[in-house]
């Protein structure tokens, strides 16, 4: 199936998956269009409307026919696909190269996170109850420069979303600073924060629950415009909402729709339009594609990249999918149990990971190509993720690290420079 797919839909799905093992050279291939309406399924081949290899015959329903031993395909042109190249049928066209704006690194970071700590106190207060502290984010520092995309990856529970929430001030940091354009947000008052809110926007993970079901799409997008009086009249903000819908690939008439009337990908586009409405400088993307189908995921990633090119946006891209992060990011931060393990520019990190945790993560991620997969040595991390209530001493990763020794239990490793634009928090890794 993976090595030699014999249906255009399968080919499309495989091509729209970002690849961990390949640097970003182009836009993601996507399957154009939307899944068909099940109330009124197309006659003939179900996939024909979205298929690049469509011919007249596709108006009749293809049966599921055995093409090769053990491999059946419901495509009239499966035999041709089996012959060899899908490209001849129009399925292999390389999408246009992404217009990556030359991102000269600006001197001054737009966003600086300095020794950020966020602890949550859990458990009941009072005698007889132990006060428990979850160290969700423990002494994290990094910078984001204007116009770049910084990927923030790690397993669930590593604190990456908490960092996003702190930057947005949905949570107040326990300690440390968050500097945006030189101003500290961590200690900003509500009034001061209001002035900054417009410039830092967010796209949330779950496009189903993050839109108010009682408001139309137009109201959702226009609401902050009205709250901040960014447009002179309601009419103007409604027009702007319609315009934004067009920019994210939806139709202006959808402003009248309610979120539940849209598909997941369309809702995520609404979320993006809402974030764009404020003309922000930074968008925190908190797992924006992890709830979406792969074909839709590719469309959204492409949209985010296009918008970045058009408006010079800066992204903090939080995700757990290493392949997606490799595709979209300029620099990548790897986190584990509330601490940064490694920071590097994208290709450096993926081609030459230094920290044993980064190596393990990359090894554990599957690659949708059986031939590549066969040649890989898979090292699986032993053990469970330790409880953040009681993190290991020294290096938090030492309990699962293949190269840890006694020293790792004692010393909390600093982030050290291990190459150009490459830092790792491991005492075992040197230049």
């Amino acid at each position: 199936m993976f090595a030699r797919p014999l249906h255009p839909y399968t080919i499309g799905l495989l091509r729209s998956v970002p690849r961990l093992d390949r640097p970003r050279d182009s836009r993601l291939a996507t399957i154009e269009g939307l899944p068909p309406n099940l109330l009124d399924p197309p006659s003939g081949c179900r996939f024909a409307a979205r298929c690049a290899a469509k011919i007249a015959l596709c108006d009749s329903d293809p049966g599921l026919i055995e093409i090769a031993p053990g491999q059946r395909s419901a495509c009239h042109r499966a035999a041709e696909l089996a012959q060899g190249d899908a490209a001849r049928l129009g399925l292999g066209t390389v999408p246009p190269a992404v217009a990556v704006a030359a991102k000269g690194q600006a001197a001054r970071p737009l966003l600086e996170v300095v020794h950020l700590k966020k602890f949550f106190h859990v458990g009941r207060k009072g005698p007889g109850h132990e006060a428990l502290t979850v160290r969700a984010v423990n002494d994290v520092s990094f910078e984001v420069y204007p116009g770049e995309t910084v990927g923030l990856v790690g397993e669930s529970g590593c604190g990456k979303t908490t960092i996003g929430r702190n930057i947005l001030k949905l949570d107040d940091p326990t300690d440390g600073e968050i500097r945006f354009d030189g101003r500290d947000l961590a200690h900003a008052s509500r009034r001061q924060m209001q002035a900054v809110r417009r410039r830092i926007q967010v796209i949330f993970q779950d496009p189903y629950s993050s839109l108010n079901p009682r408001m139309t799409v137009g109201q959702i997008i226009a609401e902050p415009l009205n709250v901040y009086r960014l447009e002179p009249t309601r009419k103007a903000s409604n027009e702007r909402a319609a315009d934004l819908l067009g920019q994210v690939g939806l139709y202006p008439y959808m402003a009248e729709r309610y979120p539940h009337e849209l598909s997941g990908g369309q809702r995520q586009r609404v979320g993006i339009a809402r974030a764009l409405a404020m003309k922000p400088d930074v968008i925190v993307c908190d797992e924006p594609v992890s709830a979406l189908d792969v074909s839709i995921q590719g469309q959204i990633i492409n949209l985010l990249e296009d918008l970045q090119g058009r408006y010079g946006l800066t992204y903090l891209f939080i995700a757990h999918d290493l392949a997606v992060v490799r595709h979209i990011s300029d620099r990548v931060i790897v986190m584990y149990l509330g601490r940064i393990m490694e920071i590097a520019s994208r290709d450096t990190l993926y081609d030459n990971p230094q920290h044993p945790y980064t190596k393990a993560l990359l090894d554990a991620a599957p690659i949708p190509d059986p031939e590549v997969e066969r040649t890989r040595v898979t090292r699986v991390l032993r053990g469970e993720l330790p409880s953040p209530l009681n993190p290991p001493s020294g290096c938090v990763f030492h309990t699962r690290c293949p190269i840890a020794d006694e020293a790792c239990r004692q010393v909390i490793p600093e982030l050290r420079r291990v190459g150009s634009d490459h830092h790792a928090a491991c005492i075992k890794v040197g230049l």
Binding site: L168, L170, R190, Q194, R197, R198, Q201, V202, F204, D206, S209, S210, L211, N212, P213, R214, T216, E223, P224, V227, Y228, Y258, H260, G271, R274, A275, A277, M278
Partner: protein, 317 residues
């Protein structure tokens, strides 16, 4: 939507029919004979023939099936018959009390909503602070204190401190609003307090639930002021379960205020209900049960239609 409404109203018919069958036959099974109660109730020596004559007059000698058929025909033509005890038309007996019962129910609902929505919301916003605790204690007290007892306290307090008693005779609100309110406000308050306790607790938990929703976080993140987040995003979404509670409680109040009506000497539906049951006044009980069932059905349909208004996700086919 219109189609849905019509269908819901048509669906009410089998419900009401079921209620009718149940109440009719249950009444006949329950011991107690209106004729005996009425004629021999005071120990008078009345001959069996006289009893039989009265039975024939009331139609109680006919077989059950034909009694039921007569009643059903009456119901369909909106003729509820005459009270077996007083001989007055049932519709008239109910009508003169319904106004009062409705007024108490409406006043109590208004009081409950005015108390519950702000208190419940504030308690949710200030969860686990002293404000929340005060509201919760008030709500629990409202549930624990019987409303008739609270009513007695009201009356006693007014009597002791102001030497004032509410008027005893019912004055319709369109004749003399002040005299009317002077009589109705106390029962409405004592019932409304308990009612508001239920609604406050529902509002509080519902707002708390909604505040955890992702779209509230979205609203905050996009920079909407907290006041608007609460007013526009949270309360609107939290309202649905509160509406259900308020609606059902309202329907209950129409026939369920037996003791409170007693305490305030109100001649309402609840009092009529109890009287009729002790007298085994079949026609009256049947009509009252049908009335209460009808009100419940109407309130339920109204709640469902209101849901659709408030929540665009609910679109009835």
């Amino acid at each position: 939507m219109l189609q849905y409404t019509v269908r819901r109203i048509l669906l009410a018919i089998p419900t009401l029919l079921g209620v009718a069958v149940l109440i009719f036959f249950m009444l006949r099974v329950v011991p107690g004979d209106i004729v005996e109660l009425k004629l021999r109730g005071d120990g008078a020596a009345v001959s069996a023939e006289t009893l039989q004559v009265e039975r024939v007059r009331l139609g109680l000698d006919k077989p059950l099936s034909s009694q039921f058929a007569d009643w059903m025909i009456g119901l369909v033509t909106l003729d509820f018959g005459k009270s077996m005890w007083t001989g007055n038309p049932v519709a008239h007996e109910i009508a003169i009390r319904l106004e009062l019962s409705f007024e108490v129910a409406i006043l109590a609902t208004v009081i409950a909503v005015l108390l519950a929505l702000p208190l419940g919301t504030i308690a949710a916003l200030y969860k686990d602070t002293w404000i929340d605790y005060v509201v919760r204690v008030l709500a629990i007290a409202g549930l624990a204190v019987p409303s008739f007892w609270l009513g007695m306290l009201f009356i006693l307090a007014l009597l002791v401190y102001f030497a004032w008693l509410p008027p005893i005779t019912f004055t319709p609100i369109y004749q003399d609003p002040w005299a009317n309110l002077a009589q109705m406000i106390l029962p409405a308050l004592s019932v409304g307090y308990r009612y508001s306790a239920v609604a406050t607790r529902m509002t509080r938990s519902s707002v708390l639930e909604v505040l955890k929703e992702d779209y509230i976080r979205t609203a905050r993140a996009k920079g909407v002021f907290e006041r608007l987040v609460v007013a526009r995003h949270a309360i609107r979404n939290a309202l649905l379960p509160v509406i259900t509670v308020i609606g059902l409680e309202f329907a209950f109040l129409i026939g369920g205020l037996v003791v409170t009506e007693q305490v305030f000497n109100l001649n309402g539906i609840g009092k009529l209900f109890v009287q009729s049951v002790t007298r085994s006044d079949y026609t009256m009980i049947q009509a009252l049960v049908m009335l209460v069932a009808f009100i419940f059905v109407v309130v339920n349909v109204a709640i469902d239609l209101l849901y659709a208004r408030l929540d665009p996700r609910i679109r009835y086919q």
